[in-house]
Symmetry: C2
Subunit: 317 residues, 2 copies
């Protein structure tokens, strides 16, 4: 076993990569722009050059055990990226192509699964064998771990809990084209939508009324709530309750020890967590009550994506 | 490895047990009454006597590798039965007690998980690594298999998909004490409740109006539908649609290759399956469409419970 892995997190805007040791220390990291490379070959050349520079500068040549990549719609089983709307390239045999370029084994998975692996390998989920990672960002991603193993499903596409239907009739339109998905309510975007709905439906004063309604973000709602704004607090109550109700249903699937939250919204703290925990416990089947924890990611945000991706590098063959 | 296992299915009324070989042949089977033994020690003595008689009569003494038991609320991890409302005994260390009595290793799990193991070992799920077993009886049970392994959850209580909430507001009261559970709509009991609701809410003629409304069963609804009764067919449409919508959500969890149906209602055939498949496909996230099959159990009903339980016998240590 070599001492390091290379973790690569491919996002729509930036690609961040870093050299990580077995204890989860990010030895060094760097990044390139993803979006500016309309042609994948150019992107790969740029990534290879920069990553090689980083590896050489840190005396890590021939010391990389594997490369782990987290990317939107990346499929662990096929090694492909398919239908990734936020990336500028067509479908790709990503794992094979990167592996050939670097001469190092590569494993890939989607960003939320990478986050779950990162928590399990280096973070708050160390020692947990059954947990569900929920990433609350622009959308909602999820990574499910059962008996110590990532749940990939027969096609590598399991764990899309942001697209469980939580409102069957007259639900909000979701980015996936359907209506009523969890993501349409409890992502950062969902919180902003709730703000607009509440502001239109209610007449009470709110700090949020000082902002142009179309540009309100979940951060604005957080700031208002922290300043004591009643309507903003109600928005978190609403969001946390829906999330908690959905967690209660997830319990009936895999009975996890913990739900782990990551992403911008997770930083809302008790504003979100209190109603979430209350709704989860209240809506759970009796046999599960009091058993599952709701935890926040312990990984530094700057390192989390690289650590998550790198965790997969140890598995690459 | 010895050539046989003993499968024991403990139901509220009867306990059925059989000697099973590695190919899933039930060499011989028998049964005793569960309910008449208010005292567990008497029950165990009766079971031991009858099972030993069966084993001796089939020249299987010292040829039993393990004993597998399927029973309500049986916990694979702890070996205990707890809070089993349909059994006459208090909480029990079932696995240890039976193992000591027989001098053979014992493993236990709940009935729906046993059914899933039976299908995977001997039935329609042979070769499948990712599937969900749904038993449609008086209640709804489920057994989830991910990457070839049963999902037990951190506490052994995973896989209660009958208690996922499919109607969040004003849902029917479920036996679990909550409202809106899948089981309250799509079990045999749920179908009978739908019949009563439909008969009261609608005024059209129906063969079901010839029956005393409180005693209508799902079998009555099936018979009426097979005789062309429009209202009865609508009840299956309603039931299949709800089941299909819930399967679409389950896809987002573990992306199984197949859903396998077992139990009385599963025998309704296309009356149930057509609306089920249609609703499942219609409500699925795009990336899952067209991938998951809905299959019926291939195990003979008389043998299924014993086979399911026996499959666990091979794992007993």
């Amino acid at each position: 076993m070599k001492p390091y892995v290379l973790g690569i997190d491919i996002g729509g805007t930036n690609t961040v990569f870093g050299i990580v040791d077995a204890r989860g220390n990010v030895i060094a990291s760097s990044s390139i722009k993803t979006g500016k490379h309309a042609n994948f070959d150019d992107y790969l050349e740029d990534l290879y050059t920069e990553a090689t520079r980083l590896i050489e500068a840190n005396d890590a040549t021939d010391k990389i055990q594997g490369i782990g990549i987290g990317a939107p719609n990346a499929n662990y089983y096929t090694g492909k990226i398919e239908n990734a709307v936020n990336l500028p390239w067509p479908n790709l045999d990503l794992a094979d192509i990167v592996s050939e370029k670097f001469g190092i084994p590569v494993a890939i998975t989607n960003d939320a699964n990478a986050a779950a692996l990162g928590e399990m390998t280096y973070g708050v989920a160390r020692g947990l064998k059954d947990f569900i990672m929920i990433t609350l960002g622009t959308g909602i991603g999820s990574g499910i771990v059962v008996n110590g193993q990532m749940v990939y499903g027969h096609d590598g596409l399991a764990g899309e809990l942001g697209h469980i239907i939580i409102k069957r009739n007259n639900g909000r339109l979701c980015g996936c084209g359907r209506t009523g998905c969890l993501e349409a309510y409890c992502s950062a975007t969902g919180v902003a939508r709730t703000a607009r709905e509440f502001l239109e439906a209610r007449s009470e004063p709110s700090l949020l009324r000082n902002l142009p309604i179309e540009s309100i973000t979940s951060k604005d709602v957080y700031d208002a709530a922290m300043n004591g704004d009643k309507l903003a607090k109600d928005i978190f109550e609403y969001t946390g309750t829906i999330l908690g109700e959905s967690f209660a249903d997830m319990m009936a699937f895999s009975s996890p020890q913990a739900f782990i939250l990551f992403g911008g919204l997770a930083k809302s703290g008790e504003l979100l967590l209190r109603p979430l925990r209350e709704a989860m416990e209240k809506n759970m089947l009796n046999c599960y009550k009091g058993k599952a924890k709701v935890l926040l990611s312990e990984l530094k945000e700057a390192d989390a994506a690289v650590l998550g991706a790198s965790a997969l590098g140890w598995e690459a063959k």
